[in-house]
C-alpha cells in the first residue's frame, strides 16, 4: 500500500453542532495538501480526530494500510503521523534542542531501568537522538538557537521549533495546523522553503492555513471546508475561481438571509 491517507466519511458532533460533516478526501504520498475554510469550518477538529486527540462519531481514515481513528495520540505518532498545534504546545523550560529530542522518544525505548543503570543502550540512543535533533534544527534554521529555552524564543521561531519536534518522530505524514499564523512576510517565505525541504525528504504534508499566498504557492491540491462539510477539492488554480469557495469566504452578495 502506498503512503496514501484515505479519509472516508469522517463525522464529529459536539452535542447538536456538527463540527465535521462526512468529510472524505485522499492525500497522495509526497504531496502537499492544504485544508482551507473560514473560521469554525472544522479544520482543527478534523486534525484532532485524525491524530487521536478526539474520537469521531463516524467514518474512517486509513494510512499505509492501518486505521488511524480511535487509537491513542502517541500510538498514531508511532504509526508515522505527526502533527503540530494551532497554539504551540512546547516544553517551555526546556531548550530548543531538548524539545526536539523529546520528539525522538516515539522511536526510542530505553526506559527507567536502562537509564538508572546507565546501560550502554541508553547512551547510544541518547547520542543518536542528539545528533538527529541538531540535524532537524539545522533543517528548520534554528541551529544557532540550540540552547535557548522555548519560553525565550519569539513567536515565529516557536512554530518552526514545533515543526522540528514533530519531524523528530520520523513521520511519513505531517499535519501542520496554521504554521504561518502570526508570521511576517519574510518568516512566511522561510516557512515555504522549510515545507519544500521536508517534502524533499519524502514526508507528505497536510497543512491547515489561512495565508492564501502561502497556500497557493506550496500546495499541490486543496480541500475546502465550510461549516464542517467539504465544498471543494482540486488544484489551487481551480479552487481560486470556484464560486462556492468564494461564497463561503466572502458571504452572499445579495445578503438574502
Amino acid at each position: 500500500m502506498s503512503g496514501t491517507l484515505a479519509v472516508r466519511g469522517v463525522t464529529k458532533r459536539f452535542g447538536g453542532l456538527v463540527a465535521v460533516d462526512d468529510v472524505s478526501f485522499d492525500v497522495h504520498e509526497g504531496e502537499i495538501k492544504a485544508v482551507i475554510g473560514p473560521n469554525g469550518a472544522g479544520k482543527t477538529t478534523l486534525f484532532n480526530v485524525l491524530t487521536g486527540f478526539d474520537t469521531p462519531d463516524a467514518g474512517s481514515a486509513t494510512y499505509a494500510g492501518q486505521e488511524l481513528l480511535g487509537s491513542r495520540p502517541d500510538r498514531v505518532v508511532r504509526r508515522g503521523v505527526a502533527r503540530t498545534f494551532q497554539n504551540t504546545r512546547l516544553f517551555e523550560e526546556m531548550t530548543a534542542h531538548e524539545n526536539v529530542m523529546v520528539g525522538t522518544h516515539a522511536r526510542t525505548s530505553s526506559g527507567f531501568t536502562s537509564a538508572a543503570l546507565r546501560l550502554p543502550r541508553a547512551f547510544r540512543e541518547e547520542r543518536l537522538a542528539s545528533e538527529e535533533a541538531d540535524r532537524l534544527l539545522r533543517l528548520v534554521g534554528l541551529a544557532e538557537r540550540r540552547d535557548t529555552p522555548a519560553a525565550d524564543m519569539p513567536h515565529g521561531l516557536r512554530r518552526l521549533l514545533e515543526i522540528a519536534r514533530a519531524l523528530a518522530t520520523s513521520p511519513k505524514l505531517l499535519l501542520l495546523d496554521e504554521p504561518a499564523a502570526g508570521l511576517n512576510a519574510t518568516e512566511t517565505a522561510g516557512l515555504a522553503d522549510v515545507l519544500y525541504r521536508i517534502r524533499d525528504h519524502g514526508v507528505t504534508i497536510v497543512v491547515v492555513e489561512h495565508d492564501m499566498g502561502l497556500v497557493m504557492q506550496v500546495s499541490d491540491e486543496i480541500v475546502v471546508l465550510d461549516r464542517g462539510a467539504k465544498i471543494a477539492e482540486g488544484p489551487p488554480r481551480l479552487i481560486q475561481k470556484d464560486p462556492a469557495v468564494i461564497k463561503a469566504y466572502l458571504g452572499e452578495e445579495d445578503l438574502d438571509d
Binding site: T44, N48, F53, F85, Q86, R89
Partner: protein, 293 residues
C-alpha cells in the same frame, strides 16, 4: 431500622454535612479567585471559635456580639495573611501559593496555641433549651442554628456573586484574570476579598460548632480535610456544588455508620469520593475542564 432511626441518621448526616459545606464554601471561594486550595482554611474555622470565645470571655458582651466579633476578627486575619503571604507572590503560581498556605496553617495554629493556650475552649449554645422531637427523632437547637447559618451563607453568597458588582468582578477574575484587568477590575483586591470571605465563612462554621464540640488550637486540619473533600466531591468552582458536596459527604458518613460500621466511616466515604472522581473527574457538578487543543 425504624423511620425514627433513619431520620436520626439523616439529621446527623445533614448536621455534619452543613459544617463541611460551610468549610467547603471557603475552599471554593479562594479557589475561584486564585485557583489555589487554601490549606489554612481549617485554621480559619479554629480561629472563628477561638476568637469568639476570647471576645466572649474578655468583654462582657452577649454571645451574638462576641460571635460577630470573632467572625470579623478572623476575616481580618484572613486579609492580613493574604496581604503578607499571598499577594507578594507576583506570579500567582498556584503551586507555590498552596505551599504558602501550608506554612500559614502551621503558623496560625501555633500562634493560636501561644495566644490561647493548649486546652480546648467552649462556648454556650446560641439558644439553650431541650432538643425538639420530630417523628421520634431528636434535633437540638444548635443543629438548627447550623442549618440556618449554612442556608443564610449560601443565599448571601449567591446574591453577592450574581447581584453585586463586586461579586461579578470576582467571578470575572476567576474566569480570566487578565481579561478582568482589561475592564478595570483589580484582581489583587478581589483575591484579598475572597480570602476575607473565606475566613469569615470558616469562622462562621467554627463559631457554630464550638458550643457543640469546643475548639482548640489544633482542630484546624480535621475541618480542612473534610471541607476539601466536600469541595472536591461537589466540584470546585461554584458555591452550590460545595454545599451539595458537603451535605453528601455528611450523609455518606452517617449512612456508613448506620449500615456498615462506625470504625470505617471515614474510609468508606473516601472510597465513595474516589469512585465519584473516577466516574466524573471534575466532581459531581464541576465543569469538565478539557484543555482545548
Amino acid at each position: 431500622m425504624g423511620t425514627a432511626e433513619l431520620l436520626q441518621f439523616a439529621i446527623a448526616g445533614l448536621k455534619n454535612g452543613s459544617i463541611y459545606a460551610l468549610v467547603a464554601l471557603g475552599f471554593t471561594i479562594v479557589y475561584a479567585s486564585t485557583g489555589v486550595i487554601n490549606f489554612a482554611q481549617g485554621e480559619f474555622v479554629m480561629l472563628g471559635g477561638m476568637l469568639s470565645w476570647w471576645s466572649y470571655s474578655m468583654f462582657d458582651v452577649p454571645l451574638v456580639v462576641a460571635g460577630l466579633m470573632g467572625v470579623a476578627l478572623t476575616a481580618v486575619v484572613g486579609i492580613v495573611f493574604e496581604l503578607v503571604a499571598i499577594r507578594p507572590r507576583k506570579d500567582g503560581n498556584p503551586l507555590a501559593l498552596i505551599i504558602i498556605t501550608v506554612g500559614g496553617s502551621l503558623l496560625l495554629s501555633s500562634l493560636a496555641r501561644h495566644a490561647f493556650g493548649p486546652l480546648e475552649k467552649s462556648l454556650p449554645a446560641f439558644t439553650p433549651g431541650p432538643s425538639f422531637r420530630v417523628l421520634g427523632a431528636a434535633i437540638d437547637r444548635q443543629t438548627l442554628w447550623i442549618f440556618a447559618l449554612t442556608a443564610i451563607a449560601v443565599v448571601l453568597l449567591s446574591l453577592l456573586y450574581t447581584r453585586t458588582r463586586v461579586g461579578k468582578a470576582m467571578r470575572a477574575c476567576s474566569i480570566d484574570r487578565s481579561a478582568a484587568r482589561l475592564v478595570g477590575v483589580d484582581p489583587r483586591s478581589m483575591v484579598t476579598l475572597s480570602f476575607a470571605l473565606a475566613a469569615a465563612l470558616g469562622a462562621l462554621a467554627g463559631l457554630a460548632t464550638t458550643p457543640l464540640t469546643q475548639t482548640a488550637f489544633n482542630i484546624g486540619p480535621s475541618f480542612g480535610i473534610k471541607g476539601f473533600a466536600a469541595a472536591i466531591l461537589g466540584g470546585l468552582g461554584n458555591p452550590f456544588a460545595a454545599v451539595i458536596g458537603g451535605l453528601t459527604l455528611g450523609l455518606l458518613e452517617s449512612m456508613s455508620i448506620a449500615f456498615i460500621s462506625s470504625t470505617f466511616k471515614d474510609a468508606i466515604s473516601l472510597l465513595v469520593l474516589l469512585l465519584v472522581l473516577f466516574v466524573r473527574p471534575q466532581g459531581m457538578f464541576g465543569r469538565a475542564v478539557r484543555e482545548k487543543v
